[in-house]
Amino acid sequence: MNAPSGPVRRITGAGLVLGGDDVETNRILPTRFARHPTADVLGRCAFADDRLRATAAGAVHPFEDPRHAGASTLVTGRNFGCGPHGHAALALRHWGVRAIAGAGFGEAFRDDCTAIGLPCVELDVADAAELAELVTAEPRRELVVDLDRATLRAGTWSRPAGIPAAARSVFVDGRWEVLTELVADPGEIVTVTDRLPYLAAFGYASRPLSVLCAGPMAQMRDDDTGP
């Protein structure tokens, strides 16, 4: 993956369609592949089980279809990326997906995508179906995901590509990579920790962990004052 950096304003390239609703993160990246120590091999594992099933059925999965090689915008149905696992966004990004257009997304998945500079834009259900038909009929058709204008265009076909104004500005201003912001002012963080009762008053982190966790079960004490 060429790691993106800076503003993400427009993604231009071919599309590929992954049909159906409620595609779970377990399908995007089967959980057994999460054991890879580095993320760069995850792209090869994207939809691994779906690919196997397609091959067994004599079909070609979109992620293996040479007509979609190099595609950059993934077109999906409703609630794409629902369910549990955080590696799914990385797997798609490493495969080469640079934008996802669909009729709704799993919330944590969309956050994961944002954290790696991969915008998820929301289409009307009918528009998503129409776009899927367009891309299926003409795989090399160029799609333009325009975050400045919040539109998705395919030649003369153009539809609103919903992304909340606030979320759009994160990409357009290049603030999706938040690490720099998060570590910018440690003083503000200390202000918070000073007001947290469990840190400031109840001794949560004041005892050495080697003592706290010496046994396999928490050591019960009988000298506590009861509630």
Binding site: G83, A108, D111, A167, F202
Partner: protein, 479 residues
Amino acid sequence: MGATLYDKVVDLHTVRDLGAGRHQLFAGLHLVHEATGPQGFAMLRARGLGVARPDLTVATAEHVMPEGAQGCLCSDPRTAALLTDLEREATASGIRYHSPSLRDSGSVHVLAPEKGYVQPGMTVVCGDPHVGAHGAFGAVALGIGPTQVREVLASQTVTVRRSAVRRVQIDGRLGGGVTAKDTILYVIAVLGVRSGAGLAYEFCGDVVAAMSMEERMTLCTMVSETGARCGYVVPDDTTYAYLRGRARSPTGPAWPRAVAWWRSLASDHDAVYADRVVIDGNRIPPMATWGISPGQSTAVDGATPTTRGAGSAERAALLEACDHMGFQPGQALSTVSVDVAFLGSCVNGRVSDFTAVADVLRRSGKRVSPHVRAIAVPGSHAVDEELTRLGVRDVLERAGVEVRRPGCTLCVGTARPDGTEMCASSSGGSSRGSQGSPWARTLVMSPITVAAASVTGALADPRKVFALHGPGPRPEEVR
């Protein structure tokens, strides 16, 4: 205007507004495991950064633990690399590492509460969605991706968008043989897998109040399957009794002050909710999923839906699920034979889960069907030791259940059903490939429903199999 527990906790932990609807939130506890931790550490080192708060970070190994009771920890080079990486990084950073080689590890969502790391009013984050478990304590527990693991390691903060709160009130009383797992499967069946988007779920009502902490953890662990960002239970005396005396719990004069603060976190009577849902707990039957989504479930003595009256999307989803599962629309679940029975996972891998199974097996004298491979995987080494101490392991093994090394195993595919085997499972996920095999079929249910399937060799109502009579109605289909 009052506030919910979610509002109070998030307000307290908010560092600043990052604009664009995002907030920087302090993480009171960061749970790290070997599936997302090493990648987070690698990304951290690539930026030349260190760990901000090792004292608020806890690591353990769980996801890639090997299959089989006698498996070698390092038989797979990738497994070995992950374990080595995590232990090295944690040790170098001063992070407490619960090591499998010291029999001190476990599923992070089982281990963290039993070690006393989780308390009411905290924010808890983990590179795993089932972190929702810790909401059982009245904590705001958020799943994060590998990139965000790096951010939390570097800053002990995470970027969040604030959620509205849905109040999910479960009234009444669960019937005999009906468990917390059935409750959350029922909630998902009623509310769907999409309707939680943008929401935090506050679970309340008589059913929740009557639950033990381990049952509340089961309830909250699967909140990610509802589409909600997190879920929680307001702490009460059950919570405080569980916490009292645990390693990180306040002691001496700090204890009553802590309890007073925890009580103050309860949602105000005039708190504002996005909406309120009331569910009749008396109507909840033993449940089982029949499809490839946690929302595709019904009473275990029910049937898969028919296509009658289904819209095109629902019909397509039904047929896709039936195609994978080898079912027909309208097929009675009692006709479904099982090959594998799995007891364990971060949803149902705690002591009371295995004790409940051992109890019904011992009382009934029933044994695992010769056609079924029954596997029990304790959620942690501490659970494992407790099961041995209580004699539960003996009961399970005498009934024909193979008790394996603690960890996640089937949930993440380190042990897996073969081919197209049908697995009755107490885990959380039923999607294709969720147990490591692209062809295997997973039916999610409670531990005692798994036990009923394991002794009969087919899906069965545990109330009938084990003669569990108690309060509550006869089975009723959800849909």
